[in-house]
Symmetry: D2
Subunit: 257 residues, 4 copies
């Protein structure tokens, strides 16, 4: 019945995370470095650091009508405290709305295994994985956007991965091969979505699939918080949030300087 | 019934957050800069950036026996997906375990108001706020640690705030004045805890109290994820997690280089 | 560190609840009798049984635009499984929307204590409790309806309590005295709401206040489930639920025969 | 964008559920009759009524070490309000611990369809469904208990269904045929579990599969509440709940009279 944890050691008045004193990390690490330390056990290289931030930023916001944001707002309006309201929002997430990262990572690794162990070409391996999934009536996780066209955020994330000086394992190549195989199988183009792009990025960073969906959650949480707070400070308590009556009145389009 | 949001504008295939194209922020912003953009509308200064990271890092981890970690693990063992398991963990948080940031921020602002508007000294104002809270049978939010001695993480956070070159509003001075007043009122020393230190730091950064507890949630989430994943990849599915049988087997004590 | 539970004993292939074999209760107890057995340790009398059912029925449904129903629907539309979707709905509940039963029960017991121990009249005791609550800027839990007029469900529940042949402890008298005292204090009539009526009924049944809000949850859950299921079987997956566009198309008004 | 609900009509100060005034149902319906009215639109027959109660009672309690109970207790100890604590418990449920009712109902209906439309014998249909599920590497939902022997509660529920004077659709016959086919396929006996027995019972009652798991939730909630309350009134706040240190001190074994 004995069990072990390698995450943190807690002594009287001291928390050591992966060996480091928590108080020694404050003021020295960015939050995404801390995420890497917690989830992988070691600090990321500078290039990995940039990519981790980009992954989290990519997942952060989708507007007031994303179901998870709408629910966090409605719970805020009804008087829930922030941890309840954002949990309600997180609970509405599904494989359709961000939580297909893990299953897409498994598909990428399965394809890589076919190449490495069965001596198949990447194209053959991708066709085999797609056929086994789609042929059995399933959907290929990581593909398909509402607009049925490549989504800018996903495209940017894949380009970022490929542009960084990382010792690439080839996951972006695999996701593109899966996209080609899927189009061939279905006879129409289904673009990579954010789950798919995040899956490729996290495979390049050598994260295990089991952690994939959590990156979506960690990235998404600040967006849900923003909607919770805006509802609370700007709207009348107790209202029913009418999804058909919202418009944007924030800053005009601008560029980072 | 019309309502407005200033957080994001979503057009076909484009998300603009506070005016910036989301894809233009990827690879350029750290995650904590994104948090600031979402919650405050503008990017933080370099000094504010360091402090935001320190706040989030401070909240991230407390070991496998923190109730929220234990619950995330037990839900993981029972087969829950990550968004359910970490939501279960977040739902166990209370004002005793991190969620007193908001109410402490209100106490700090109330004290500042007494100084600014009623022409009181900081000491008088702090005594008045403490007396009104503790005298009515309440607890002063932001004070009290399990060990009843200053906790290293909270102490480090307050020192960081004071060491940074920020145009300080005086919130750390207020929290220290409240600590002195509380000791005087109760005739024993109750140290500032993490909620209190975070409250002072967020007041210095001019965040509204309504966002206070969310910083604890955002910081804490990666720690809960780490326990969810470790349970899932390291333990037998379906087990009952025995809180009395855990020990640490991670890296030995080490220092950042 | 040893601790005890008096709820159930689990042996290999047998669950005994409060001493009874679970399988022996099936087919013999109604669900509300089981609720009583679990929460109080004994089976209710026939009159108590009727009242328990009435309490649970009273809490069950408030239409598609109640925030908790709207959220369960939106989570259903987004693809969440039922336990996540209804939890999201439950998490939006607050003291404004059903969860003031516990705090109202404490007020009723406090009033009764003043009568029993301080030799006050019910009117004096009620005035004292109301003054201490409302005078300190608080709201009296269990009072106030959206329409600012007595709500039929709450009125019916109180009448039911008074019509049953129970050895009444006087809680309905107390809630009515609190209503009169509140009107006197505020100079306008604020009617008892469902939390207040449930609180009086549960005090008559000798339940502890700590169980009060749970009766609202248990009663409300089937209503949330109904909205989750209707959304799933009747609407298009993935939609944004528009609160301004719903109308009723169920059975016309009818009477129980 | 217009949409309809047939559950309830809410007018000023009146809620009509499936056509009946909510206040007219109070004192007349049991809670399980209300569940049927909400989820199916009509009141159950007396025999259906008994079965509904038995289903809900069967799901209600599994002791303090069931993961969902342990989590509700730990959240209670940490200071969470009841709706948060029991939601945390519900979120730990999975297809391994009660939530396989829906998927088992789909398997029962699939088997029935093969008999009705493809002119197969029940045995052939059951073999075909089992082979398609287990052969593809899946598990057959509704089968398998911890003890690997028939569980008393599940057995009792199936016997109850068969003993009632219902116009049986044959679902209990199907579940038993699936059990035989599964044993033949795997060459060892895997008994029906509670999800399977509930699935058969709900198919006999003509509920749609989409409502299956919700019956487990509704039945389970009072058990979670009991553990939340016992923790709160009996234990020291803030403790870490040690799963290895609990024993039972409730009533001795007794029989219903």
């Amino acid at each position: 019945m004995e069990w072990k944890t390698a995450i943190a050691e807690v002594k009287e008045n001291e928390v050591r995370v992966r060996g480091y004193g928590l108080q020694d990390l404050m003021g020295k690490l960015t939050f995404s470095q801390m995420v890497a330390l917690l989830l992988k056990g070691e600090l990321p290289s500078p290039e990995e650091h940039i990519l981790l931030d980009a992954i989290l930023v990519a997942a952060s916001e989708r507007g007031a009508l994303a179901p998870s944001a709408l629910i966090s707002r409605q719970a805020s309006a009804a008087g829930s405290p922030v941890h309840s309201a954002v949990s309600a929002g997180l609970l509405s997430l599904s494989s359709e709305t961000g939580l297909a990262v893990e299953s897409c990572m498994f598909k990428i690794l399965e394809t890589m295994d076919l190449v490495a162990e069965k001596n198949k070409s990447l194209e053959e391996a991708a066709m085999e994985v797609v056929a086994a999934t789609v042929g059995a009536g399933g959907r290929l996780p990581g593909f398909g956007t509402t607009a049925q066209e490549p989504d800018q955020v996903s495209t940017t994330l894949l380009e970022l991965v490929e542009g960084l000086d990382l010792p690439l394992a080839g996951a972006t190549g695999v996701i593109r091969a899966l996209e080609v195989a899927l189009a061939a199988q279905l006879d129409r183009h289904i673009p990579v979505n954010l789950s798919g792009a995040m899956a490729a990025a996290l495979c390049e960073l050598n994260y295990p699939p089991e952690v994939g969906n959590a990156f979506f959650l960690m990235g998404r949480l600040p967006g849900l918080v923003a909607h919770y707070v805006e509802e609370r400070v700007r709207e009348k308590p107790g209202r029913v949030v009418d999804a058909s009556a919202v418009s944007y009145d924030g800053p005009a389009s601008r560029e980072l300087i």
